[in-house]
Symmetry: C2
Subunit: 359 residues, 2 copies
Amino acid sequence: MTKTVAALQEEMTAKGIDWLFLTPSPNFRYVTGYKALPLERLTLLMLPSVGIPKMIVPRLEFILAKEHVKIECEIESFSETDNAIDIVSTIASGTVAVDPYMWSEKLLKFQGHMANSTFIDATSLINVVRTVKSEAEIAALVEAGRAIDWVHEQVSAMAFLGRTEREIGEDIKALIFESGHETVDFVIVASGPNSASPHHEVSDRILEEGDVVVVDIGGTMPSGYCSDCTRTYVVKQIDPTFQHYYDILQNAQIKAVDGSLIGVSCEDLDSIARNILKEADLSDYFIHRTGHGIGLQTHEDPYIVQGNKHKLVEGNAFSIEPGFYIEGKYGARIEDIVISTSNGPINCNNRPRNLIVVH
Amino acid sequence: MTKTVAALQEEMTAKGIDWLFLTPSPNFRYVTGYKALPLERLTLLMLPSVGIPKMIVPRLEFILAKEHVKIECEIESFSETDNAIDIVSTIASGTVAVDPYMWSEKLLKFQGHMANSTFIDATSLINVVRTVKSEAEIAALVEAGRAIDWVHEQVSAMAFLGRTEREIGEDIKALIFESGHETVDFVIVASGPNSASPHHEVSDRILEEGDVVVVDIGGTMPSGYCSDCTRTYVVKQIDPTFQHYYDILQNAQIKAVDGSLIGVSCEDLDSIARNILKEADLSDYFIHRTGHGIGLQTHEDPYIVQGNKHKLVEGNAFSIEPGFYIEGKYGARIEDIVISTSNGPINCNNRPRNLIVVH
């Protein structure tokens, strides 16, 4: 983390940024090692472009902060009746890059009290460190992938017919915990026509023979790193037209994983999957981007989307998840987490990608 | 919820606010009924002071939004390559109150694209509706209280001696789910000297005879409403000095609950507990406010703290949780959720408040 602080300060100096303000968030945790909760009281890391960072914490979290902050840092606490914003404004001024996840009420207070300062989004600054995963981070993502693969393995043997999406979802939730995740972040069990809604969660719909079921699940491991994996199941029998579409999707997904190479731009990677679906007249039904970065958050940079000219570098981690969604009928998605390395892409998810028949 | 929209619009007109912008948050859920996740793509409720609200959603969440939004609302979707901020800026301008929980990166984008608009914190506007709980909300908080009381009942029969805080915490986590909560929001098992750190979570410290153990736990029910309750336990035997301090604390907590009457100001309510601890020379060790509001969030207005002149009204819901914390030695806290009504305070938590001996 000392390396992270140095890298951020170097980038800040190059960009003319005087301060980086981080409130409890994945960025805060990444830089400090301290997993604080975002609450109404101010907890703030103030990183200057030169010198030792300062942290402002509520008095009742002082012991906690001292214990968990892993970087060299002056920690100052304030009591319930102090105005924490006043403390900050006497220390910092200039161009301040703020945590993209800072609550607006806090940013508005800073803007109100620090009229001569300019506040900018810290995303591009933070991305310099966070989008390039270290060996330990890659190992954590591989571990998370293995855990969620185990869950999909159990799902493929589960009873589907006659049960509701919600019941199946509850079973999956328990399995995600059992697999070693610390939290369950989302459970999508989208059956029949619901499979055409990419972010559908669960409903009381009862599963019928012939239903397509998109199962998109993820959680956070004790390491803080996230899993996210989608497989498409079908109850007992497969509609031949759907199977035909699915084969095209599967080919698109595999080609995009194989194409996740260093130097390829995010938008070109998106095009690999999109063009294959286009040739089969399915691209109108592929209504979202090919993928999103992943790490301490399920969604982070880099996004695999048209318009993103970022070229993949060693250690970028992201999902490859093309899909098609035909409203009122059915949909499908296949998703793996992939890491680009000089030895080619690492695929964190290794369950079969074909349509899986369940009963 | 139609009533909520009308109440907000009336308040906006009175205050000269042209628009209310809400992104996925407890406020967004409260106003629309739609529990959307805060993500990088923009989901925005745009409520004008007069007229029908508009919602901007990503294309892949359009079906979901149509299904879950419970207010009259025009829903417009945008695709992955559209600029959602441009869409918003062609519709709205003027004084815009923004969700206090909106991510700063989004507020900064609005500020950059809508140079002639003024952005203010929507907290005081939102509080007009959210701090006054309806009968259904009171019932939901009572239900949440009953569930967490059941967990504390199990905890009082649990094995403590020789186990770690983390192990006990894992058991409690499972019990919180078993009690009907949908999520576990926090589990504090602070033993021995750790009990002097109010927001300590769990550690690998092994519990010994004579340890004080502060157990502060909470979660969210399927209704969306939160529980939060603290009891203090002691392993096998009680230090007489600690028992003496604790008796004073218990008296302070009971008096503050009894004093949670309509018309009493939040700071005067804080003083009830604080003065009792002061008389016993314990007030220097009571390093936090007496309580926080609760509802769809564990912490929300009104805060029971010095400086808050808000006078309690029918339907305010908040914690009463005085404590004392002697660094290096021990600490204690007793916490109930209380609702002020014209029939006197409703206490949502009803487990014994005395020091509970465990083994």
